[in-house]
């Protein structure tokens, strides 16, 4: 996890692979650049709540299944 990623973890890469989406396809569906999808998957960027919801929507999963927060990791 990136130092600035805080306690936010995600399963974006795993769920994206399961959905058969490329990084670019997910980026287009969410409305961000492919580099931002890469940064989210590597926990190098914590997205806004709106983008997090859009990622979950694009992956067809509840947001709680995609993103998780653990206070212990901060």
């Amino acid at each position: 996890m990136g130092k600035r990623g805080g306690g936010l973890t995600n399963r974006v890469r795993e769920l994206r692979d399961s959905a058969g989406l490329t990084q670019q396809q997910l980026a287009d569906a969410v409305g961000v650049t492919r580099q931002t999808v890469i940064a989210i998957e590597r926990n190098r960027y914590s997205p806004s709540l709106e983008v997090a919801f859009r990622v979950a929507l694009a992956l067809g999963s509840p947001i709680g299944d995609v993103f998780a927060y653990s206070a212990e990791q901060r």
């Binding site: 130092k3 990623g5 961000v32 650049t33 580099q35 940064a39 926990n43 190098r44 997205p47």
Partner: protein, 136 residues
């Protein structure tokens, strides 16, 4: 590499090339002298060269890379870059004011201020390039 990163590299390259050339031609400036017509012409030529090279570079990049859109991460990185550049520019303005007090003529004051602006531009773009590769 996104369009934004390529654009930043183009800015760093053009600002560096144009103003290194200008300062190589204009420096040194002596205490007690004013900025003469020759240096004013060089400065105007530098500004025109900067506008032309940046315009051409960004037009070429836009043609080669159709994805010119940005997102929230890009905007956050841009804001942090602008903030970093603003610190440098504020320092440069203060330094130039000190130079204006302790030197005679306006040549040193003007060139300290110009060098500070160039440094601020390079820090603004350079720090964004670093932030694109690090956790934000």
């Amino acid at each position: 590499m996104t369009f934004a990163e390529k654009s930043l590299w183009a800015t760093v390259a053009t600002v560096s090339a144009v103003f290194l050339t200008y300062f190589a031609a204009a420096l040194p400036v002596r205490n007690g002298t004013d900025v003469g017509p020759v240096r004013v012409v060089w400065f105007v030529l530098a500004v025109v060269a900067l506008a032309v090279t940046q315009g051409v570079a960004h037009a070429v990049l836009a043609v080669l890379d159709r994805r010119t859109d940005t997102d929230e991460r890009g905007r956050l990185i841009e804001l942090r870059g602008v903030r970093n550049g603003a610190y440098v520019l504020a320092t440069a303005v203060f330094t130039a004011l000190c130079a204006a007090i302790v030197t005679e003529g306006n040549a040193i004051f003007v060139h300290v201020l110009l060098a500070g602006w160039v440094a601020a531009q390079l820090v603004e773009s350079g720090s964004q390039l670093v932030l694109y590769r690090r956790p934000v």
